[in-house]
């Protein structure tokens, strides 16, 4: 299976959800124990302070196990070097996409500064993942609007709308062909409903591993185990955990 939403440790800047220190090998142990073959590994320091240094450190972390970990960097979209840094992370650093965290990083999806960044990610064959589920500036329909401005760019709702916006996430995915929905922190009843009603090839799964106080990422392991209690079909499970993320990552 592919875990589409995990994080590196926070090495520098987190003063919330900082979690335990762990190295790449420890992270692979967590993946092995939970049956995760490959993981999309998102910035952690970069969420709080998107810098080229954060992208360098993320790239070095995933480079320890390049067959297993796929890195997504982060930039501060209004900074003058944002496009150059996006280009650098997608080429020199070998990252495969970008993670946006609009409310934490302080911007709206509707800002024009995001467009050249998205074009750069798309030109490199990359993917955009955005935090979602949190008003005011991280709602699924706002992210869908960004996806509609870039119809060839795959855009992923990183949390499937969480507790209060998951119906909006489902509606947005249905109306936006390049929008994907990652069930991650989404409550189980919503996950079940989404899997029943969303376009089946556009649902992904993530644990948000990396934030735990323990290197073994206990809550993330529990989230993988919990899927067995969701009441979903074997086909839905296969699509969400294996086929969809594989197809989306493709050559990436």
């Amino acid at each position: 299976m592919i875990d589409f939403h995990t994080h590196t440790p926070a090495w520098r800047s987190a003063s919330w959800l900082a979690g335990a220190a762990f190295d790449a090998d420890e992270f692979i142990s967590f993946m092995d124990d939970s049956g995760v073959d490959r993981a999309v590994v998102l910035s952690h320091d970069g969420l709080f302070d998107p810098s080229s240094q954060a992208n360098d450190e993320l790239a070095a972390f995933v480079a320890r196990h390049p067959q297993r970990m796929i890195g997504f960097g982060s930039v501060s979209p209004r900074r003058p070097d944002a496009v150059v840094e996006t280009e650098r992370m997608m080429s020199v650093l070998g990252l495969r996409g970008i993670k946006l965290h609009p409310w934490l990083q302080g911007f709206s999806l509707h800002e024009a500064a995001l467009d050249p960044i998205c074009e750069t990610v798309q030109a490199a064959g990359g993917i955009v993942v955005s935090h979602d589920g949190t008003p005011p500036y991280s709602t699924p329909a706002q992210i869908a609007a960004l996806a509609r401005r870039h119809p060839e760019l795959p855009v992923v709702l990183g949390h499937g709308g969480l507790h209060d916006c998951w119906r909006e996430a489902l509606a947005a995915v249905a109306q936006t062909p390049n929008l994907y929905l990652c069930i991650c922190g989404t409550p189980p009843y919503a996950a079940r409903y989404i899997l029943e009603h969303a376009p089946q090839h556009r649902v992904l799964f993530g644990t948000d591993a990396g934030l735990s106080d323990k290197p073994s990422q206990d809550y993330a392991a529990a989230r993988v185990r919990e899927i067995a209690g969701w009441g979903i079909t074997a086909d839905q499970r296969q699509a969400m955990l294996v086929d969809n993320p594989q197809r989306l990552l493709g050559g990436r």
Binding site: T134, L162, P188, A190, S212, D213, Y219, G229
Partner: protein, 246 residues
């Protein structure tokens, strides 16, 4: 003694749970008692149907189920009459959901219901979540306005307002958080370790049927706590709110 502090029974929009299924799950997981609120439609509109259902389920459960009463605060005097009726039928607490019931925690509509709850020594469960729904901090303000009422911060601000849960609990000593959805290894451990909060301000709940009950319980049993802390989280906190002997 394990007490599940919040469950809803009946038919919701995407979920359903019968009292029998709940009791079976409790047997399977070793949960002794549960506080049950009615389904979403009953919380929002069909208050009487909901109160009848949960008090009937409680009455026929041999003491294992305890009923939350509901009444939409927009109903004014009728809401109080409905709570009176539910109390006569054995309800032991009030459950409030500002989203389903369409009010603002601080607009004053809830005040008569809180006075009712205070007079009956009922704890008040409030479902929290993202804006513009009831966030943890306005609930702490409400608790500050009603120091005689004990409040439960349902869902503890899951997920992006878990960061508000600690400040809300520190601000309002008459507020407890519940454990559903919250990982112990990122959220709950910090609340329990906080000298101004502690495990006896946290209440186990499965929030069934929105969750996987076994996972909700496992997350609390996996959490390294002292025996005293675990007893508090799994039952002591809610027992104290209800004045139950366990």
């Amino acid at each position: 003694m394990i007490i599940d502090g919040h469950v809803r029974i009946g038919q919701g929009r995407e979920v359903e749970l019968t009292a029998d299924t709940l009791l079976d799950t409790m047997d399977r997981l070793g949960i002794d008692r549960a506080l049950v609120a009615p389904d979403e439609a009953a919380i929002a509109y069909h208050n009487r149907r909901g109160n009848d259902a949960v008090t009937a389920a409680a009455a026929s459960s041999g003491g294992r189920l305890l009923a939350y009463a509901v009444a939409n605060p927009w109903r004014g005097r009728d809401a109080l009459d409905e709570l009176d009726r539910a109390a006569d039928r054995g309800a032991v607490a009030l459950a409030v959901d500002p989203v389903l019931q369409g009010f603002d925690l601080l607009d004053g509509l809830l005040v008569p219901l809180l006075e009712f709850a205070a007079a009956r020594h009922w704890p008040v469960y409030v479902r929290t979540g993202t804006p513009p729904t009831a966030l943890p901090m306005p609930l702490a303000l409400l608790a500050g306005q009603h120091p005689e009422v004990r409040f439960v911060m349902g869902r503890s601000g899951a997920t992006d307002f878990w960061i508000d849960a600690g400040p809300a609990l520190r601000q309002a000593p008459n507020l407890v958080g519940d454990t559903c959805y919250a990982p112990w290894d990122t959220v709950l451990a910090a609340l329990a370790a906080d000298p101004e909060i502690g495990a006896n301000r946290l209440m186990f709940s499965t929030d069934a049927p929105y969750t996987v009950s076994a996972t909700e319980l496992e997350r609390v049993t996996d959490w390294p706590l002292t025996q005293a802390e675990r007893l508090a989280v799994l039952g002591g906190t809610v027992a104290a709110l209800l004045g139950l002997q366990i």
